[in-house]
């Protein structure tokens, strides 16, 4: 176990103190606000494809532009959906990194998380 890198000797409680801190709760809230809706959205969007293609092949075969049909366009849109969510996540990730850095700095340098001894 990589235990040698723990930030203080008082490691029994520091994790609990960090976990209970306002900063950490902010971090988790910031992550949750992005990740939970993004995850639910992409799962629904993706599974619509095999469901529609499997159970409504006639409808999905509707031609939209020349011989290009709904089925192909919807499949193609999945690529852009994935890239857009990934791009948005990278932007959101900058906030996660900023808050995480604050928490790490405090945990390593600040007395706040180190407790009474």
């Amino acid at each position: 176990m990589p235990d040698d890198s723990k930030p203080t000797q008082n490691d029994q409680t520091i994790w609990d103190r960090v976990a209970g801190s306002q900063e950490f709760r902010d971090l988790m809230a910031t992550k949750r606000i992005f990740i939970v809706p993004a995850f639910i959205f992409f799962i629904i969007y993706y599974f619509l494809l095999p469901t529609l293609v499997g159970y409504a092949p006639k409808f999905m075969g509707t031609k939209v532009w020349g011989n290009v049909n709904l089925a192909y366009l919807f499949a193609l849109s999945q690529f852009f959906m994935s890239w857009i969510i990934a791009g948005l996540y990278v932007r959101a990730g900058d906030d996660f990194d900023r808050i995480s850095k604050d928490i790490i700095d405090k945990a390593v340098n600040n007395k706040e998380f180190k407790g009474g001894n």
């Binding site: 176990m1 976990a19 950490f24 971090l27 993004a38 293609v53 290009v68 049909n69 089925a71 996540y89």
Partner: protein
Amino acid sequence: MSAPLIMFLVFIAITLGITYWASKRSAGASAYFAAGRQIRSWQNGVAVAGDYMSAASFLGIAGIIAFQGYDGFLFSVGWLVAYLTVLLVIAEPLRNAGKYTMADVLAYRLKPRPVRAIASLSTLTVSTFYMIAQMVGAGALVALLLKGSGIGYQHAVIGVGILMIIYVVFGGMIATTWVQIIKAILLMAGALLLSIFVMAHFHFSLGSFFDAIGHVTYHDKGQEVVKDFLQPGLRYKPPYGPLDLISLGLALIFGTAGLPHILVRFYTVPDARTARHSVVWAMALIGSFYIMTTFLGFGAATIVGRDFISTHGGTNMSAPLLAQSLAGDIFFAFICAIAFATILAVVAGLTISASTSFAHDFWTNVIHKGTERKPGEEVRVARIAAFVVGAVAISIAILLGPTANVAFLVALAFAVAASANLPVIVLSIFWRRFNTAGAVTGLAVGLLASIGLIIVSPSLMAVDPPTVTGTARHLIQAKAWFPLENPGILSIPLGFVGAILGTLLSHEPTSQHKFNELLVRSNTGLGAEKAISH
């Protein structure tokens, strides 16, 4: 000497040079197993893409689209979208909380020995199955590509096996990563060139390209058939087709994030931020590649045609034959060399993840309770394990022979990853109550359910006509008990239920006590493994 053979030899020479260079930089466990955690985000992104885009994707997908049209393209979609699970759920916590293997994350708050033992078993199962499928494919392919040069199936399998052992044993993760990067760049270049040639054939008119896909002509049982290859339903037909399609989607979406050889890649970068960026790099490449399968697959269907491909090597030869018909023998050789590079790089990636798990999880942590008896023992054991894994894969591939029915092994690898690995990783990171009994039952149920359901699926159970002989025959000559080829739709819920029931039926206060530690570590990177500094 044939042109493909010369290009193979050039690739082999370059990668062996890299291995020699890497061997001098692979001293120490962190350097050997995790490339010193110094890989940059774009490099790791390209390497992840390389690990993922196997011969099954390059040759397989092009072939499936060439023969079954639109339904084949659905594989392409699932293979990219799956990376959203990796990005949103797995990559960062894993990098923050782990060291060399996925079991590291589980071992934090659970009892390390039982959890690592079964996680290692699951990793070895996934890697070995995946590798055997690649080796059999590699042997058949290389023999086909080099037809006339006197190199047969057995030589090809032994050659591929020896090369992958050399990369992994001497060059470790550094060499494996760079072989992966070179191969991914070659693969992207090859796919792009092929796509441009296909579009040039249609005078760069998307309209006439898609019109041609609208009436693909081929012969089926002596009858001429004209089909619109953009219409869904050529592969997945009722009654079970649609359900199989959803089941496949589930295995891809939840399995990719549980594939050991993909997961270990995130330990090669300095921190979680780099891991995140590397997934996005990988997604850019993987997405572009799979969009190009439109041109590769439909191009082969319209320009080369099913009839010609069937009589010149079968579905897997669709992309190389397309190259040959568009730009002649040298380009054919180039595409063949890329296919060869793809196989080599993927088997090397599988070998290193399997041998790392054996050495780190099983040898050091299960048998010797977490301590190395001599310095460098873990790396030495991993090198021996890589050699053994390679030798076993070579022997099984030779025993099975080139016509063996092995395509289901890749589906099985994804199913095990989705049903056994992913549930326990997710529950370990997100569920405070989760404990050792839950992890062990979850892994065991997921593993057994996937294997069991595949055994009774149409992949292994079917009645063959007497013309099919040897290992090409289905293992059990009877009607399949489980109607779907992909067990995911049943085995993934079973894996989760196993993990949850195992947890609820047992009590382990320490795992709940240590949850805060894992929560803080995985989310902030506090105390995470550092990169080796120069």
